[in-house]
């Protein structure tokens, strides 16, 4: 083997990413940071229970939803060391006058920061007043103060918690926006046919998008959240179809219809172009076109090409899967089809997803692929500049279709255990894996861009 492809040595990677994250290393930690946005030092954050204000009988329910959602969002963010409820001071400080910072700063809570506030339901409106205070700086403690309002529903109690969480994350997480308001699109067969579904990033609020009654796969949301591209089989085979989330219906996309399997669409990061796999010329090749279907052209010239993903930072490179030499491998090319580079050196490598910062490819790889061969299909992250990779999942089912969160700190993926597929999420270093879906079988997740 002549390629310089290596498993990433832990120390090297930690050093590499720490220097990128500008975080001084207090002490060595035995875990790895692949998403460069995950700093090595977490802020110790408390979240007090919010104080309900008013007589609305539904208020207590909204409060429970809000508190649970906020705590979950802050835990999921991957940048906080959350103080558990049992270590938190009791009480529900509803305003700056009511918070006892000294209690939060002291053991056992030992908080650096505290989020607190109130929620009120008045004449059908739910209003949240939220603050973040620096517990170790009582002289000038306010870090954030925000107010949010919407119709008083349980769903809105969750959405307002997401908004407050994202504001906290943006403020304390180095200016990178949180993901609590993002969506995950996926395929579910729970109705009997594979349809496109959507849910909030935390697995809540699942709802069906398409009702085509055939097989719909590979959902890809546009960067502005307005359109959903996917592939679906009909009378004339597989077509790239387009669903408008503004109009809540399918809209025409003639470029995706021509004969031969049209599969695996991918939006460029600026939303102006689509790449997809099409066999309209006989074999499956990568094609690109403008977002309206114009300017269609073929980029590859071998067979068995699928699953393109754009470098969302530059929009001038595409990674994709090709079986030109046998088992599928990951390749990168310029967006005009030149400069082809093979990234993986064997096994069965599929489903690349390019990280928002352009530095990494997440993909699914079975390094010892073969009939009867040992080894599993696992999620890996590949650092393009160094040609080094890191394995994120181990010994847990068959893992495929990773998709980056817009903050680059998380991945969502499909995990199949005993033939039963569900959607899972994890931090981009492979830690904190948890299952998001529990109804029926669910496949091919795609994280929204914002």
């Amino acid at each position: 083997m002549t390629r310089s492809l290596h498993s990433l040595p832990r120390r090297t990677l930690i050093a590499l990413l720490l220097s990128a994250a500008l975080a001084p290393m207090a002490h060595a930690q035995d875990w790895i940071k692949t998403g460069s946005n995950l700093s090595n030092q977490r802020i110790r954050l408390g979240a007090a229970e919010f104080r309900p204000l008013g007589q609305d009988p539904a208020l207590q329910g909204f409060k429970l939803t809000f508190d649970a959602t906020l705590f979950n969002d802050l835990t999921n963010a991957g940048i906080f060391d959350m103080i558990s409820r049992s270590l938190s001071p009791s009480g529900t400080p509803g305003s700056p006058q009511e918070i006892n910072l000294g209690q939060w700063a002291a053991e056992p809570a030992n908080a650096s920061m505290v989020a607190f506030g109130s929620l009120a339901a008045v004449s059908g409106k739910l209003t949240i007043a939220g603050w973040v205070y620096d517990a170790k700086n009582p002289g000038s403690p306010q870090v954030l103060g925000k107010q949010y309002s919407d119709n008083a529903t349980d769903d809105n109690a969750r959405q307002l918690a997401h908004r407050f969480a994202d504001d906290i994350i943006a403020r304390l997480g180095g200016g990178i926006n949180g993901i609590a308001e993002t969506k995950i699109y996926f395929v579910s067969s729970r109705t009997g046919t594979k349809e496109i579904w959507a849910m909030d990033y935390d697995g809540q609020n699942e709802h069906q998008v398409t009702k085509l009654g055939s097989v719909s796969l590979s959902p890809r949301i546009s960067p502005d959240n307005s359109r959903l591209a996917f592939s679906s089989i009909g009378r004339d085979g597989w077509a790239i179809r387009m669903y408008s989330l503004d109009l809540n219906r399918l809209v025409a996309f003639p470029a995706g219809i021509a004969g031969g399997a049209n599969l695996s669409p991918a939006w460029s990061g600026d939303g102006t172009k689509l790449a997809f796999s099409s066999a309209r010329s006989g074999e499956s090749e990568i094609w690109v076109c403008d977002a309206n279907g114009g300017n269609l052209r073929k980029l590859t010239a071998f067979r068995n090409n699928s699953s393109p993903t754009w470098n969302p930072r530059t929009n001038n490179q595409i990674a994709w899967v090709s079986g030109r030499t046998g088992e599928p491998q990951i390749y990168i090319m310029d967006s005009d089809g030149g400069g082809i580079q093979r990234m993986t050196d064997g096994g069965y490598a599929v489903s690349p997803s390019w990280s928002p910062n352009g530095q990494f490819l997440a993909f699914s790889w079975n390094r010892k692929y073969g009939p009867g061969a040992p080894g599993g299909q696992d999620i890996y992250v590949f650092e393009i500049a160094s040609m080094k990779w890191l394995q994120l999942t181990h010994d847990s089912g068959s893992n495929d279709f990773p998709s980056w969160s817009p903050d680059g700190r998380h991945l969502v993926f499909e995990r199949s255990i005993g033939g039963h597929s569900e959607i899972w999420t994890m931090l981009a270093d492979g830690t904190e894996q948890h299952q998001l879906t529990h109804n029926g079988r669910n496949f091919m997740p795609n994280w929204s861009w914002k």
Binding site: I233, W238, S277, S284, S307, V350, S351, G370, P371, A373
Partner: protein, 250 residues
């Protein structure tokens, strides 16, 4: 101590010399000159045939797995990857003998398949002409599935009979249009398997064109692993799913 070992066998002697001296020099000794460093573990080999008893003309699936081998061969079949699956159609009872050669020696495995002769009064498949079969039944009897090897879209030599028969039927029934579906087994990724299914269907389409069927009568669609024929995780089931299937394109 080395001397004693040499007395036992030359092979073990070289092992000892190599390990004790750190293998600084190659041992000069004629035929053993090419023996590689002998610290390598011995190859292992497993070979199974499924089923082990068939009627002549039936297919048998050989699957094998080896470790520590540089070259793997089955007598009469040739060089093979270190592990894999292959479908064979033995005409007579056969012992398949696998040899795995590696730096650490040789591993062997054998699988026996008993073949009984086909019944003398073998029923010639009714081509339907003049019978009361429906057009659909005639089509099904004459245009039959084509099976593929693992991760392959090459039409196998054992599919030529089925292809010729299909081409002959389509030459006679020259108004029938055909939809060729490409299917894959459950292993691998959905998106990539759809391109593999496309290649399988397209390989069969090209073979039928070569056999004289007009391209305009043939349409391909890939089903990947979205519409499996059977759903068990066994090689028998996987083989049934790795196919191109046909239907009348109305």
């Amino acid at each position: 101590m080395n001397v004693n070992r040499r007395l036992i066998t030359a092979l073990i002697a070289i092992t000892a010399v190599a390990s004790i001296t750190g293998c600084g020099k190659k041992v000069k000794s004629g035929p053993l000159d090419t023996a590689p460093a002998i610290t390598a573990p011995a190859p292992t080999a497993e070979l199974t045939a499924t089923p082990t008893a068939v009627t002549a003309g039936d297919q048998v699936v050989l699957s094998w797995r080896t470790t520590n081998a540089n070259s793997v061969t089955i007598d009469g079949i040739g060089d093979l990857p270190s592990s894999g699956v292959k479908t064979v159609t033995p005409a007579v009872s056969t012992s398949y003998h696998l040899t795995a050669r590696g730096d650490g020696g040789t591993g062997e495995a054998t699988a026996r398949v008993t073949v009984t002769a086909a019944p003398a009064a073998v029923a010639v498949v009714n081509d339907g002409a003049g019978s009361n079969m429906t057009a659909e039944e005639q089509f099904k009897a004459n245009v039959q599935d084509i099976f593929f090897d693992y991760d392959s879209y090459d039409v196998r030599s054992d599919a030529q009979g089925a292809l010729s028969k299909a081409a002959a039927y389509l030459a006679t029934n020259n108004t029938v249009k055909v939809l060729i579906g490409g299917y894959c087994d459950e292993r691998g990724s959905n998106e990539y398997n759809l391109t593999l299914g496309q290649s399988r269907a397209n390989s069969v389409k090209q073979a039928l064109i070569k056999a004289g069927v007009a391209e305009s009568r043939l349409r391909v669609v890939s089903y990947g692993k979205e519409k499996p024929f059977c759903t068990e995780s066994t090689e028998e089931c996987w083989q049934q799913n790795r196919r191109a299937g046909f239907s009348i394109d109305r």
